[in-house]
Amino acid sequence: MGLLVKDKEIVTPGEDLALGMDYLPSYGTFREGERISAAKLGLVSIDGRVIRIIPLSGKYMPKTGDTIIGKVVDVTINGWRIDINSAYSAMLSMKDATSEFIPRGSDLTRYFNFGDYIVTSIINVTSQNLVDLTMKGPGLRKLGEGRIIHVNTHKVPRIIGKQGSMVTMVKDATGCRITVGQNGVVWIQGDQPESELKAVEAILKIENESHISGLTERIKEFLEKQG
């Protein structure tokens, strides 16, 4: 009876996590009779009576409230279609795109054109995974020049760090402007290409080495060496 695994243990699909009714299944787990089992590969997280799985891999699945970086792939009659690095593309409708008045019949590419990258927020995800976006909110904007890199979406919290500590460290050390989208798209803009490359390297290092302890120190060391 009770718990069969430890907190923060890595489990594979089908592994039993708990027996009996003392625990509640949450994200990435399922109950079958008496037992709660894992339905995903990931870390077990036990919070009180609630058991969930923190996934370590997989594609980005859109979630309401996420701030993401998307790319304009189509301009339609009433808005823009945005690629959000997921199995589903998203719609940014005219009324959520800008506070400006857009006259009927005007050329929408004047606001967002093909290939533009935008920082945007998800306002709604339907059961069919149709995604609605908005540009209204702090920090939501069209991105100018810079570099785009793609990282594992599950490593995004590590790249940002506690209260943004990790990304702030990279920003301060390289002098770059960095925006990290929840969907694993990262935008980097610096004064010199060298500093941009340094920031790219640092972020990829965080992504690849996040499972080895002492990450913050290693990244600090990396950023300090060669100026």
Partner: protein, 235 residues
């Protein structure tokens, strides 16, 4: 103790090695080697499905592609491209994996599984399924459990596990039965048969197969955990 041509016991499998995360570009990938049979599996998706008429608004679709590489056989070149045989194996692989997947999460989308065999010595569809199961889990896809598969058979009255090509092509009364299990719930997701075997022999063979699949399952689990060892959500 009865020994086989390669010195194995009847219920003994060939040595197994497995590895995950071998294809960088894929969302999940795995290699599964059993004896001289090597299977690579790469999982892409869930991703958008085109052409659009293939989309299913109720659930996602699983698409498997099994392929033997031209140089993979025992010297005779395997003609590249789809064949009657590879189309069938692609289909049964798909059916073997479907019961553990929950595709309701991905309406209109597709999960592509590519299985390629650079070297073969019988038991390819089973090796492919084992590799695909690891790759699917590595791709972070929701699964009830893993799937493990092995071939069992009858070689002139001797019931054995994991036949080699030599054993499979022995003259006489020979049967080759690839079987895939969901190792936890002990349900069969694939069962094919080729040759001659009695009812009693088949039941005995399946029992041996079930035991072997549990061994494979342990290897699959260990392989997956190995890749992510040390992961945490802190810092």
């Amino acid at each position: 103790m009865e020994k086989r041509t390669d010195g194995r016991k009847l219920e003994e499998m060939r040595p197994i090695t497995a590895k995950t995360g071998i294809v960088k570009n894929a969302d999940g990938s795995a290699m599964f080697q059993i004896g001289d049979t090597i299977a690579y599996a790469a999982v892409y998706g869930p991703r958008e499905l085109y052409p659009k008429f293939l989309q299913d608004p109720a659930r996602g679709i699983l698409r498997c592609k099994y392929n033997m590489m031209p140089f993979s056989g025992a010297g005779e070149r395997v003609r590249p491209g789809p064949s009657r045989r590879s189309t069938e194996i692609s289909l049964v692989t798909e059916k073997a994996l479907l019961p553990v997947l929950n595709l309701d999460e991905f309406p209109n989308a597709v999960i592509d599984v590519f299985i390629d065999l650079p070297q073969t010595d019988a038991g390819t569809r089973c090796a492919g399924i084992c590799a695909a199961a690891i790759a699917l889990a590595d791709a972070g896809i929701t699964m009830k459990e893993l799937v493990s598969a092995v071939s069992v058979g009858n070689v002139n009255g001797r019931i054995m596990v994991d036949l080699t090509y030599e054993e499979e092509s022995t003259e006489g009364e020979v049967a080759d039965v690839p079987v895939a299990f969901m190792p936890k719930s002990e349900q069969i997701t694939l069962l094919q048969m080729d040759g001659e075997i009695t009812r009693e022999q088949l039941i005995k063979a399946l029992e041996m197969g079930k035991k072997a699949c549990k061994e494979i399952h342990a290897i699959q689990k260990a392989t997956l955990k190995e890749k992510y060892v040390g992961e945490s959500d802190e810092e």
